[in-house]
Amino acid sequence: MSLIYNEDQQQLLDSAQDFLAARSPVAAQRALRDADAAVGFDPQVWQGMVELGWSAVAFAEDQGGLDFGFAGFAPIFEQIGRHLSASPLLSSVVLCGSLIEQLGSDSQKQGLLPGLIAGEQRWALALEEADRHQPDLCDTRAIRTDSGYRLSGRKSWVIDGLEADGWLVIARLEDGQRGVFAVPAGTAGMTLQRRQMIDARNMAQLLLEDAAVDASALLSSDQFEAALELALDRGRACLAAELLGCCEAVFAMTLEYLRTRVQFDAPIGSFQALQHRAARLYVQLELMRSSVMAAFEALDRDQADPAQRRQLVSLAKWKANEAAQLISNEAIQMHGGIGVTDEYDLGLFLKRIRMAQSQLGHSAFHVSRYAGVRLS
């Protein structure tokens, strides 16, 4: 293992770059936004991603996966960030896929994973109940019935929740433990409300009022907390990689602007104050990259050492959040007027960055989490 891409990852990076530049450049994200489609992504682009194997990359071969290891997602999400591409890869494959893979019985896996890997079925994780990431908060209840369970509660922020084929709903069982239920579309007692966010992607609120599911909808509750944490850590690392990609794109745009924009008869990038600030952005970009790479390394290596993984994933998400905050703000300021126009792409990056920062843990959350490992 190492902190730079190996050959296989490099190949994934190149092919993702080629595919997204052709099929899902930033302009496509803008078009999706302007079309105001609730689903928030282009199903054909998603199908293309599936064909490239992105939905299979981390699953074991016996489950229909490519057994590439989780580190394959680093280059993919980096390129997704660079191109601001929208897809249900995070929600359906990384988050839900991780939970099903870890907690599903053989028959549940057989029932759920092939469709998910094939991109035919799309699942969304219904976890968050507060406005900031609080993965331990759960007021949604599951009451045992004769034939299964009745679920009641409110999931406020479900990524890719609209038009999903099903939702993995985290609920508290009567014994106080939490479990995860696979709730298929069409279940009675369930309503969705669209949440139109600044990044124009798919976000929904899910209301459950005595939604009845079969007993078989409950994935194994053993090890639920550990499995959820691992799934979330995978998602966090992917978001950190996405932020890295966003920041690389934003920084490249900014450098180009600094080199070419002339004011006072000089390229503004020749002004020392801006040079020093640009140099500081570069520093943050490099620290961010190292942290992201280390998180993926830990995710592939340390199945047996959750503390180490927890520490490195929180470091990566924190560093990505913080660096992205600085880089996006400075990029807009250095661009001046054009940076705040909707016509220019920078605003789209800013909006995606802020969403990625807040999903699965803002900075202070991860500082606390890191402290929990480091200072214990």
């Binding site: 968050e128 990431h133 139109q196 801006l274 300021q333 007027g337 940076g339 126009t341 807040s358």
Partner: protein
């Protein structure tokens, strides 16, 4: 003094009699009255108040009577101001012409031009917009390229202006145009005024990252403007432009004091969202928010100190120079904290899922990025402080060859 006190009493009585009660309440931004050809009123009281102040010639209380002003001297004008503030009177209209162009016309325009442009301005009949910035002339305004070429008795204007507020709703524009060569580039610039309905003028509003905006880009395609509308000397408009920009600060501060600000009180949000911080991240967030409140108070005390210094006739150029920088950067910090406080709720774009107040906040946050850029970017402010206030040497002279 007696006379002044008499004037104060009269003024107070007149305002109390003539300013409708509903015009003594804070003014939401959508209820601002913009003078102009198509002045619109939301209520009968607004119209009354507008007409009474117009007929009193108090849109421009300190302009000469000859040009439609109120003819008040500085002290009486200040008394009127103070009394309006005391009664919380709304400004009867908002008009960039009066606040920015007017004073420059009074100083530099010909008698004929004054006669022509000032009285309608003073009656609130014309809504003015400003045409200064261009896509390639932002911080470096003097590099503007919109040309005005003399052809017979007309200037023919070609080019484009950007960041023109309410360009699509204004009747006339005052603009800086290039009538002479680029070298030295401050020379060769003139100030001209033109009717926005002139053939060849087109306007497109600019969408910002925050959504629709009042900013426009204005295009000139062989727009003919009579040479009599050029203000001051040909090729000597740079100093007029600079004079105008000095009035901009005053205008902006009037503007913000009169409008009910789209104010998001950080105190309130902290109390509401973090009534009792629980875990370490909430405590840290609260501390960050409190530090922001403290910095805001330090700034507001600095404004108070500036007023005290002014009364004592002390030099306040340093305090003036930091004002815009500090305020706009504090606002940005405040909005980032508000985003943290509200979490996902602060990142809605539209739709039923969000309170309109929260959607407003999202928009105000995104607009806060524009505030550190528009009207002299933070970098320009820092340059000015370094050179004019601190007297640091100009980079130009010292750099090795």
């Amino acid at each position: 003094m007696n006379e002044l006190e008499e004037f104060r009493a009269e003024t107070r009585a007149w305002l109390e009699a003539n300013c409708p009660a509903s015009m003594r309440t804070p003014m939401p931004s959508e209820e601002m009255v913009w003078g102009g050809r198509n002045v619109e009123f939301c209520s009968e009281d607004q119209k009354l108040w507008f007409e009474r102040m117009r007929d009193k010639s108090w849109f421009c209380p300190d302009w000469p009577v000859a040009y439609g002003g109120g003819g008040l001297d500085v002290r009486r004008s200040a008394i009127l101001d103070a009394e309006m503030r005391r009664l919380h009177c709304r400004p009867p209209q908002i008009n960039l012409g009066i606040w920015m162009l007017g004073p420059v016309l009074l100083e530099y325009a010909s008698e004929e031009q004054k006669q022509r442009f000032l009285p309608p301005m003073a009656r609130g009949e014309i809504r003015w917009c400003q045409g200064f910035s261009e896509p390639n002339a932002g911080s470096d305004l003097a590099s503007l390229r919109t040309t005005a070429v003399l052809d017979g008795d007309d200037y023919v204007i070609n080019g484009t202006k950007i960041w023109t507020s309410y360009g699509n709703k204004s009747d006339w524009m005052y603009a800086l145009v290039r009538t002479g060569p680029m070298v030295p580039k401050q020379k060769g610039i003139s100030l001209i005024v033109l009717d926005m309905t002139s053939p060849g003028v087109s306007v497109s509003p600019i969408d910002l990252i925050s959504g629709k905006s009042s900013f426009c880009q204005v295009f000139f395609d062989n727009v003919r403007v009579p040479r009599s509308q050029l203000i001051g000397e040909v090729n000597d408009g740079w100093k007029l432009g600079k004079a105008l920009l000095q009035h901009e600060r005053r205008a902006m501060s009037r503007f913000s004091e009169s409008a009910l600000p789209t104010h998001f009180d950080l105190d309130e949000y902290v109390k509401r969202c973090l009534p009792a911080p629980q875990d370490a991240d909430e405590v840290a967030l609260q501390q960050r928010a409190v530090a922001c409140l403290m910095d805001e108070q330090a700034f507001s005390l600095t404004n108070r100190r500036m007023i005290d210094s002014l009364s004592a006739r002390q030099d306040v150029s340093g305090l003036m120079a930091i004002s815009k920088l500090v305020h706009t950067e504090q606002e940005r910090e405040k909005f980032e904290i508000l985003l943290q406080l509200l979490g996902n709720q602060s990142m809605g774009w539209s739709g039923d899922g969000f309170a309109s107040r929260d959607l407003d906040l999202t928009g105000a946050w995104l607009m806060s990025f524009a505030q550190t850029i528009a009207g002299g970017s933070s970098e320009v402010q820092l340059n000015v402080i370094a050179k004019r206030v601190l007297g640091l040497p100009d980079p130009v002279q010292g750099v090795r060859s």
